[in-house]
Amino acid sequence: MSKENQFDPNVSRRELMAGAVAAGVAATVPVSFAFAGEASAGAAVVAEGQAVKIIVNGKPHQLTIDPRASLLDTLRETLSLSGTKKGCDHGQCGACTVHVNGQRVLSCLTLTASCGGDEISTIEGLAGGDELHPMQKAFVEHDAFQCGYCTPGQIMSAVALIEEGHAKTEDQVREQMSGNLCRCGAYPNICKAVMDAQSKMAGGRL
């Protein structure tokens, strides 16, 4: 077996740095590696870094991230907020829907590097402590999910939809939520939950 075909789990920092330059990826910030320590499960190991500050669910984070990282992957892998889901990574399914500055956004098509100073809300930040948000309550009451995988995206999309004033009728909800796919097909119950929650949300418009 030639040396090229063998892997070496103890690749040195120098080899990795050389590899990074050879691969032609520009580093804007000199890096230092660390393997995630046993005590900090899920913290990112960063190859090359772009400094960016984002506020997630009210908490500021000063991050050094790979410029290629999507907001979705930063939320899930760097910040260990796994509530937002990856369904397609191509902006086709809506499972990754979060709020950026109050607007519903596909986080898989958003580069974290472009989010400097932005306020980001994820499903984890929706409930007020133990008290569920009216949309979350409505989803449970109306059984608006089955497997639950698209559910965080559906809920974040629905909350923003109501803020937009685009949930006046069931037909409007169906049209305006069409970016959130549900393979289990819980659509009728989702629609009912959204209409119900709307009437209970403070500031919700009918």
Binding site: H90, Q146, G148
Partner: protein, 723 residues
């Protein structure tokens, strides 16, 4: 204060609801382990030919890469018998999607980029991508109902009325929302796999066998599953490869498939082309049903879609001739997909019945009622219960069938042509052994545990509901533990026979726990109820009481000095012999077809289902409605088109169109909900997961015909077929 006791059959909200709406529910890719690395699969991009060279040097040198697995070094993963998951240079290639390398890096971005640096060259041969290609190898398959029952040829030639047609369905893909993902971590020679699987114990065995490990050394953790639909019954290469990578680098590895890889390497439903023939008297009584089917399969696979499986169970008839063949394509392995065979075979049958009704000038609902049967025509055994006629009558009333014009093209609303259609469904009942353990704790709560699976089917809730009913506890005092391989044995969640197995098991274990608690109450020296007889005692809202005294279940447990009382029970199917368990339903729809563009919109949908006793009105209705949504997708938008290169024209949601919100109207679901006294299983009969999808496409095709006068015998019914 009296509290409404929990019972099976109520519309109890899901017990896992809070976890799902808050993002707390963890699916496979959500597990963040210390030192986690990221793996990406590189696969063949040619459907037939030879892999002539594979160059991984650039990938190995890329930033953050700690390993590249390929045929050259995979021995280090110590698969049993030197199992080889990779194509290597010099190997034949059979389909797009065969793994050739796995790149492992510290971050996902690094792994993904490095994977793009792997170079593979191929000698290309012409792939077989169509069932009708003369170059396709074929195999004969087991046609359900056998080749000849009675004398179909002579019955057909003497039938007063004959109908024959060719019906076609395309390749369809499961596309559950959760991407296939595995997190694998070794502890010495013990392996833990975080995965989404419908087969917790089956998966454990396959993974253990793959590495030559005792099953006790492999743990599968799968508490939440983002949809399965049959694809997750199998253990796919990415699971083994994640484990291999983790073993080789000595760190946990996460491997997540892309949505495109979900088209190529996660199973699919084969295509079909069927000739269906009906023979009947001039009064409309069927004498012969024959079906000759061709479906697709992979190059080396044994899986053949059982298209004929449910064609003969709906209507009385005397003769049948069923044939099935499959043609091998250069495509990845097919997999069971929600109700294997039935949606295809019943599409053909239910459109043909509509055509027959027209020929006979009999109403389509009447024609079906006329051919009702209480016995399975294939073997003359009585059905455990059958309320098919009731489904038809109630469904017809719901949709307003009386408003339907008897001849096509009679109704219009502006630019939209309006029509009504009916299509029926069947799916076998089923259940099997399952074991459940119930513990009652000192705080008075109960936990039921089994290696069962909940992929949105509601297993958590109905198991807890059974225990709450038996022990007379409120729902917030009962929880279910499932989805982990160390728990008591449960069957796979497949075939729509899961809840009809694990709920009786939970019920049986709770009943044994109740008996144990009662004995404690009656016999323990410190029990305030000691010396009383069983008929003097009542369970109520977490206590056992007599007329004058009571004790909480928690305090009763505490008397034992143990942390809990525990019972484990194995449920065995308890149906009466000599019957056939079968579920039935009828779908009714109103469609609007645009007169100029051919766009078809489903305006109203109503279905009535007969699946025996329903355990939870919310979860069952949602499953059945979800099956209707699948049927609408099959009818109008879903097709995985293979081009002649063996690539899918669109391998993700941009081209494979599953229904979206805007495609789905309100769906009116009614369940007959009559306990089946012959099937056992607490009166349930299974079937809820896979019954509803069949018959929907036929109902829609029939409605399109009623609206437009155009008979479409293939799906999806896209606008090009109507203009």
């Amino acid at each position: 204060m009296t509290i409404e006791p929990v019972k099976l059959g109520q519309a109890i909200p899901r017990v896992d609801g809070k976890a799902k709406v808050t993002g707390a529910a963890k699916y496979a890719a959500d597990y963040a382990l210390p030192g986690l690395h990221f793996a990406v699969i590189v696969h063949t991009t040619v459907a037939k030919g030879k892999l002539t060279s594979l160059e991984t040097a650039a990938a190995r040198k890329a930033a953050g890469v700690v390993a590249v697995l390929d045929a050259g070094n995979i021995a280090e993963a110590k698969f049993a018998g030197n199992r080889q998951p990779f194509r290597k240079a010099g190997d034949d290639v059979d389909y797009i999607g065969q793994p050739i390398a796995v790149v492992v890096a510290q971050t996902l971005e690094q792994a993904r980029f490095a994977a793009s640096l792997v170079k593979a060259d191929y000698e290309r041969l012409q792939a077989v991508t169509s069932m009708l290609d003369p170059a396709a190898a074929t195999l004969d398959a087991n046609a359900r109902g056998g080749p000849n029952r009675g004398n179909p040829e002579s019955a057909l030639s003497s039938a007063a009325v004959k109908l024959s047609g060719t019906y076609e369905t395309p390749i369809q893909t499961h596309h559950p929302m959760e991407l296939g993902a595995t997190v694998a971590v070794w502890n010495g020679d013990k392996l833990t796999i975080y995965d989404g699987t419908q087969a917790v114990l089956g998966s454990r065995k396959r993974v253990a066998d793959a590495f030559g490990l005792p099953t006790a050394d492999v743990t599968i953790v799968s508490p939440y599953i983002g949809g399965g639909f049959g694809a997750r019954l199998l253990t796919w290469p990415h699971t083994y490869l994640a484990a291999a990578a983790a073993r080789m680098i000595g760190k946990p590895v996460k491997l997540v498939l892309t949505r495109q890889q979900m088209s190529y390497a996660f199973g699919h439903r084969p295509a079909s082309r069927q000739e269906l023939t009906l023979g009947a008297t001039s009064d409309g009584k069927l004498s012969v049903i024959s079906q000759n089917t061709l479906s697709s399969t992979g190059v080396k696979d044994d899986f053949v879609e059982p298209v004929t499986g449910h064609t003969l169970v709906l209507y009385d008839h005397q003769h049948s001739g069923m044939q099935a063949k499959a043609a091998r394509l250069n495509i990845g392995a097919p997999a069971p997909m929600r109700a294997p065979g039935a949606p295809l075979g019943l599409f053909a049958l239910e459109v043909a019945m509509d055509e027959l009704a027209e020929q006979l000038k009999i109403d389509p609902v009447e024609l079906r009622l006329m051919n009702d049967t209480a016995v399975d025509p294939r073997n003359k055994k009585p059905y455990t219960d059958r309320n098919f006629a009731e489904c038809l009558k109630r469904g017809a009333a719901k949709i307003g069938w009386a408003d339907r014009a008897a001849t096509p093209k009679q109704k219009r609303a502006g630019d939209w042509l309006i029509g009504y259609g009916v299509g029926c469904c069947a799916w076998h009942g089923g259940n099997t052994q399952a074991t459940a353990r119930v513990r009652v704790l000192r705080d008075g709560s109960a936990v039921v545990a089994s290696a069962a699976q909940d992929m949105g089917t509601g297993t958590y809730t109905v198991m807890a509901q059974a225990v709450a009913e038996v022990l007379c506890l409120p729902m917030d005092k009962v929880s279910a533990e499932i989805g982990v391989s160390t728990l008591p044995p449960a069957p796979t969640a497949g075939g729509s026979r899961h809840c009809s197995s694990v709920v009786p098991a939970a019920h049986q274990a709770a009943t044994a726990a109740k008996k144990k608690l009662l004995e404690l109450a009656m016999k323990h020296e410190k029990s305030p109820l000691a010396g009383l007889a069983a008929d003097q005692l009542q369970f109520n809202n977490g206590t056992i009481s007599s007329d004058t005294k009571s004790i909480t279940l928690g305090d009763l447990v505490a008397l034992t000095g143990e942390a809990n009382i525990e019972v484990t029970e194995e449920y065995k199917p308890d149906g009466k012999p000599g019957f056939v368990g079968m579920n039935f339903g009828a779908h009714f729809c109103q469609v609007a077809v645009h007169a100029f563009t051919g766009e078809t919109r489903v305006k109203k949908f109503a279905s009535v289902f007969d699946c025996g006793r329903i355990f939870n009105l919310h979860t069952a209705a949602n499953q059945l409605s979800g099956g209707v949504v699948w049927g609408i997708g099959m009818a109008l938008t879903e097709a995985a088109h293979l081009d002649s290169s063996g690539r899918y024209a669109a391998a993700d949601f941009s081209g494979y169109h599953i229904p979206s919100h805007a495609d789905i109207p309100n769906i009116d679901v009614e369940m007959i909900n009559k306990p089946d006294e012959n099937f056992g299983a607490l009166g349930s009969r299974g079937g809820v997961g896979e019954l509803a999808i069949s018959g929907v496409a036929a109902a829609i095709s029939n409605a399109v015909y009623n609206a437009t006068g155009k008979r479409v015998r293939e799906v999806p019914i896209t606008p090009d077929k109507l203009i």
